[in-house]
């Protein structure tokens, strides 16, 4: 049997793939958080709940309307993103002129309400969402067995992350977002509808969370608490990467997933805490984060 640093290759690559999958979710979620934070300057504590809403939207669309996974991949982010836009327009906008800490509190409260509501409606235990038939099964790569669906998660997450990076860094619309992040008052003086930009940006960040939720539905159980646990790790990832860098969020997300996966191979006891250890190290050595701009 092939060994890699004293570990069977199959186990090594198996954990690497699991790490990449987690990393894909970290990247998608921290990307959304970074975009929202950039323009709105609030830490979106409802991000986990919105991820959960994405998974539930897919689940409900399938079970009540017979809408399949592929359609849900577009529809769920659209629905949940629209809810996000409404939250910005009718709740967050009212408190933009006061300390941003209130935005954090408001989104935290919203997260609790949404999770409570879904726990009441669906119970705490998870619901199963089937892997789409096109992606069931897997392939033996020689060194490991890879389920198609898991490969798909990593591939599509990377594609979406790069597309979002391109949109923000290389297009005119992204230029508005970057400039609005720097100086919204001047953007408005140039005739750009900044309040609308803010609403759409929040909606977009939320839609990314919902998209991650749909991707997660077939491999994790669709449960009201699914986002809350994940979000804590994602916040650590965001602290490590540093707020304000789009590429930083993506790279750090994937890298932390891999670090977690490899820790599972070599020192499983630390796999749940390794990201937090990295976070502490980064905070000590580079408080603004690996990709953050030093103040």
């Amino acid at each position: 049997m092939t060994m890699i640093f004293g570990v069977p290759a199959a186990a090594f690559f198996g954990q690497l793939l699991l790490g990449l999958i987690n990393g894909a979710f970290y990247a998608l979620l921290s990307l959304g958080l970074a975009i929202i934070f950039g323009l709105l300057k609030i830490i979106n504590f409802a991000h986990g709940a919105q991820y959960m809403l994405g998974a539930f939207a897919a689940y409900l669309l399938l079970n009540y309307l017979g809408i399949n996974y592929w359609a849900a991949l577009f529809l769920a982010p659209l629905i949940v993103g629209t809810i996000g836009a409404l939250i910005e327009r009718y709740l967050l906008r009212r408190i933009t002129h006061i300390d941003h800490i209130y935005g954090l509190l408001l989104t935290f409260g919203l997260a609790l309400i949404i999770q409570g509501l879904f726990t009441n409606l669906f119970g705490v235990s998870g619901n199963r969402y089937p892997v789409p038939s096109e992606l069931s099964g897997g392939i033996n790569l020689g060194f490991m067995f890879m389920p198609y669906y898991r490969g798909w998660i990593v591939a599509i997450a990377v594609v979406v992350c790069i597309a979002v990076w391109f949109l923000i860094e290389k297009t005119k619309l992204g230029g508005y977002l970057r400039a609005g992040t720097e100086n919204p008052a001047l953007m408005q003086a140039f005739g750009i509808n900044v309040p609308l930009l803010v609403t759409l940006t929040y909606g977009f960040g939320v839609a990314l969370a919902a998209f991650a939720g749909v991707l997660a539905a077939p491999i994790y159980s669709v449960a009201p608490g699914m986002g809350a646990n994940l979000l804590i790790v994602v916040f650590a990832v965001v602290v490590i990467g540093g707020m304000g860098s789009i590429m930083g969020a993506i790279v750090t997300g994937l890298a932390m997933g891999i670090v977690e996966g490899l820790t599972k191979v070599y020192y499983p006891e630390a796999s749940n805490t390794v990201i937090f250890l990295v976070m502490i190290l980064v905070l000590l050595l580079r408080p603004a984060g690996l990709f953050g701009k030093e103040a």
Binding site: K172, G175, Y176, R178, A179, T181, E182, N183, A185, L186, Q188, A189, F190, G191, I192, N193, V194, P195
Partner: protein, 236 residues
Amino acid sequence: MSKTYEQLGITDLHAYYGESHILHGIDLHINRGELVTLLGRNGSGRSTTLKSIMNMVGRRTGSIVINGNETIETAPHHIARLGVGFCPEERGIFSSLNVEENLLLPPTVRSGGMSLDEIYDMFPNLYERRKSVGTRLSGGEQQMLALARILRTGANMLLLDEITEGLAPVIVQKLAEVLTQLKEKGLTILLVEQSFRFAAPIADRHYLMEHGQIVEEVKKDELESKKDILNTYLGV
């Protein structure tokens, strides 16, 4: 287009930042094609007047008519669409955009703006540095960029806040030439200035401000006769 078309009419304008009452009843009128300056000491309220026109202050009352539209209730992002271009005192060059992206950022608000080529002809330095990060430019180049940026949009009234501040004489000279060219094109310009020597030869009229009020209006041909008043308020 008649010679006396009023492009900007401000009546009894009061402006506030939170609890502080900064402008105390400004009256100011500019006809199309005029170049008018707002002169005054530091803190007299000149920048606040420009920001009030852009609806960028906390609260404002009174009347501001731009191109025939009352704008006291108008949202900030609709003001530019009336043909107003604003160049803020701190220049506001975006560090996350390169020079060309900075130039292309403000949306077109009217037809007849300058093309990118015309702008690069007017400011060759900007062409050479078009791929540089906006804030890596020298102070003078950043000022050119801040000005060039609003020339592209087709705005026919420019509000310029201390564009010569801290710049070398040769660049100040260049800016004076540019403003003269823009005036010849028929643009209306409201210029906030510290330097009377820069403003005097190019402007049609001057408003003197003190403590958030306009205390005197001086026409170009009154510069000699009102020398004492100018001295009192500006110390020129």
